[in-house]
Amino acid sequence: MIAVRDLVKKFGSFVANDRLSFQVHKGEIFGFLGANGAGKTTTIRILCGLSYPTSGEIEVAGHDVYTEREKIKRKIGYMSQKFSLYEDLTVSENIRLYAGIYGLNRKYIARRESQLLEQLGLQHIKNQLIREIPLGWKQKLAFSVAVFHRPSIVFLDEPTGGVDPITRRQFWEMIHEATREGITVFVTTHYMDEAEYCHRVCILVEGRIKALDHPASLKEQYNSKNMNEVFIKLARER
Amino acid sequence: MRRFLGFVKKEFQHIFRDVRTLVILFGLPVVMIILFGYVVTNELKDVRIGIWDRSRDQVTRNAVNKILSSGYFVLAGTLDHEKEIESLFRSGKAKVVVIFEQDFEKSLVDEKRASIRLVTDASDANSAQLALNYLQGVLAGFFRSVNPDVELPWEVDIRSRMFYNEEMKGVHMFVPGLMALIMMLISALMTSVTITREKEFGNMELLLASPLKPREIILGKVTPYVLLSLINAGTIIFMAYVVFEVPVVGRLWILMLECLLYITLALSLGVLISTATKTQQIAMVFSMVGLMLPTILLSGFIFPIDNMPGILQWLSTIMPARWFIVIVKNVMLKGTGFAFIWKETLILLGMTLFFIMAAMRRFNIRLESK
């Protein structure tokens, strides 16, 4: 689904991404881990077509990121750190807006919308403004909106920031559900425990890939009980 | 103290990093002076006129020549028909049409009277009046020269002296107003915006939680703008003097002191506004529309206050700019001393104190309610 070779991104003389190479397979949950400032958001923005890479070969959903960005955008979904729903629109209006942007037809949208609201248990607030609903619901809603149009890949940039552990758990269940429906998930986070939920994990330290494997293999390799320990050991390696 | 200076330094850095705003802050007064000095004048030149000479004799031809060589008028076209006046006006090709009656010279010689019609496009009333005056002047002069034997006797000669502004330069009027406006803009608007910005982005709480005292925060935020405003005031005066020869007849130090007072007033107003606004947008729109616009209109900057209806005149008394303009006019252009402006200065002082107290009270209330 995603093929990256020697991706480099520089901001002036600062190298944010230093020759990253990795692949993401269809249907998997690919975790992109690292400390704050390691370069995760930079990469995800490049993969989404929001930012130009300095160099490297990058293919997303079968299209080249340099020449076919708009085609890529039709097949992907994105959820940013800020959840980017419109605060001054209602739950229902936000759903309809993004669904409309992806070109879904009205009847389909109406049907799916009521399905979704029921699933999330949000029917009673469907006409409330986003700025009035609690953070946990916003987060789940943002994700649902991002996958509403059934994209091939969905990119999640630190989607669980500021949310309590129970809600985080529920959120990851939603992600698993999406995978079951065939959507590939590319997620960045700095919560190491979330790495356990991914099929494969890539750990970024100071712009370079330090590890790329299944969480189980990594824990074995670094003789650690959990991913947190793996990360600390990796970070210490200089 | 060191804390405070560190804070002030940060504020300065903030401002200087925002190059675009800075360019405009310094460029604005310069541009405004040029505009008001050269562009916004009420003198007429190159007025387009149409000529309908129904007589075409020597006298009328000479008259037309006189008009066109006066420097005020430019020929837009000649007419043969009454109907053409309408199309000339409608298309904006001419503002005035001069019509000489038939057999002009003959009537003048035989019947001792002749008439000229001046039809003006009066949609712009003032320009029309001025154009008319000029034309009448030119024609009267021409007529006198054509009839030397008729020395219009019992002539009243008008000698006029233009006080404080011999050459009748338009700029003089605007310099005080410009100073008032720009200083108000920088001090009030910018202050309210920058404080509100901190609030909006949540930094204000951070600052309040720090060891800096609230009044230190305010002072720190405000200090750079005092400097900027003074520099701008100085720029305006300097440019006015250098480019347009607007004199500074009075004492410079009084002028500067009054500027400082006015700046303080504007700053406290800005702080007061910021205690009432939640987002930058509101602060800006309010400052622009609620402050700038009335200042421009009602302070006597462009439009004379005496001409306004009663309510507006009353409203104008609560515009600080109005009093400041009076002060600057007196000190800078007339050279009067303190004796003349003590009343206005007192008013400004009073307003400043009021704003400061109101701002402080509001600021403390917000703190307590946190």
């Binding site: 130009y52 419109y86 | 405009i24 003089h172």
Partner: protein
């Protein structure tokens, strides 16, 4: 197409949920239009005059009576020497001093000509000019009266007279207000259009939702149109609203075709909104944008001919006015409303605006980047 519709729905909803917008669209214009039109009069009334009459003759008293009988002048002091008068001038208690020496009438009889002095406070040069013009008019009137009343008999035979007959079209009552009102309407519509559009865009940039939009397959031009159209409609509505207000409050004449006016306004707004849009693509923060728009708005407005005719401006200013859209609209609105000009009369301005709109919109769209 449906995408555009979806976006427009969102924009309108957001606009009307913004608590501010409605007062800005309705209250502020109303207040402005009322205030401005009354305040913005450059007419002179109640010119305060001090008379120093050292002659006290029939002639001097006659002249003084002409001034006191004029609605423009208000004689606040009659003195016998000019010290007091000058003091009042210095204190801004009078605007002009009329000074006649003690041989005013005598010279008239003996030498056939006499003189008087006017001292005018010229700090406001415009006012001073008008004061002088008004005084001159009254004095000339006095002059003619003196000539014909007192000396007319004997000399009528040899004095030829020139009659100058003025006629004032489109505004026979010299109502300055209507002229100003047009100017104010233009200013309003322009500011609302430009400012609101630009603010809206940058606000979204600052909130971060633009990023979410950039990730979608929305085309740049769809996004731009969705951002412009609502304010275009609002600004046109403003224009209509303003015209109605003008009609009710000031009996604004509508001599020409309203369709023509709105047609031109539509194109004009594309230019103005395009400029706002373009400015927002080069600003990082709302503050920067505000300042830049304020700067351009004020400069363009001052140069547009709202207070002073563009023909009187120096050459270089008139050159700059070629790219000043406000100047065009200022011209056209006065021509169409007050004089009833038709399409042919404004065709040049119209086509210029059309070209300008294409250029600026293309620039703005090109400069808007989905990818940085």
């Amino acid at each position: 197409m449906r995408i555009l519709y979806t976006l427009l729905v969102k924009e309108f909803k957001q606009i009307f949920r913004n608590r501010f917008i409605l007062p800005v669209i309705f209250i502020i214009p109303v207040v402005q239009m009322i205030l401005l039109t009354y305040a913005a009069s450059l007419e002179m009334k109640n010119i305060k005059m001090a008379v120093v009459d050292q002659d006290h003759s029939v002639a001097s008293r006659l002249l003084i009576s002409r001034f006191s009988g004029s609605p423009y002048f208000n004689i606040t002091l009659q003195a016998s020497n000019d010290k007091e008068a000058l003091r009042l001038l210095h204190r801004d208690r009078v605007d002009v001093i009329l000074h006649m020496k003690d041989d005013f009438e005598k010279k008239l009889y003996s030498e056939g000509s006499t003189d008087l002095q006017l001292v005018i406070n010229a700090i406001n040069a415009t006012e001073a000019g008008l004061v002088k013009a008004y005084c001159t008019r009254i004095i000339h009137g006095f002059n003619s009266q003196v000539r014909s009343d007192w000396f007319g008999q004997g000399t009528r035979g040899s004095v030829a007279s020139l009659e100058i007959i003025p006629a004032f079209w489109y505004n026979p009552e010299f109502d300055y207000k209507i002229y100003m009102f047009c100017g104010i309407l233009v200013i309003l519509v322009t500011i609302i259009g430009m400012l609101l559009t630009a603010l809206n865009l940058v606000r979204e940039k600052e909130m971060g939702t633009t990023e979410q939009i950039n990730v979608t397959p929305i085309r740049k031009i769809q996004f731009v149109i969705a951002k412009l159209l609502p304010f275009w409609i609002i600004a046109l509505f403003e224009l209509g609203f303003g015209l109605i207000l003008g009609r009710i409050l000031y009996d604004l004449p509508i001599v020409g075709s309203l369709w023509l006016l709105f047609l031109f306004a539509s194109v004009y707004l594309f230019v103005v909104l395009g400029i706002g849009l373009f400015l927002s693509t080069i600003s990082g923060t709302q503050q920067q944008l505000m300042f830049m728009s304020f700067f351009f708005a004020i400069t363009f407005i001052l140069m547009s001919g709202v207070f002073t005719p563009t023909e009187s401006m120096p050459g270089w200013a008139q050159q700059i006015n070629i790219i000043n859209p406000v100047a065009y609209f200022m011209r056209v609105i006065r021509m169409v409303l007050l004089k009833g000009s038709g399409f042919r009369d404004i065709s040049h301005d119209f086509y210029s605006m059309l070209a300008y709109a294409s250029v600026i919109l293309t620039l703005a769209v090109a400069n808007y980047r989905k990818t940085t």
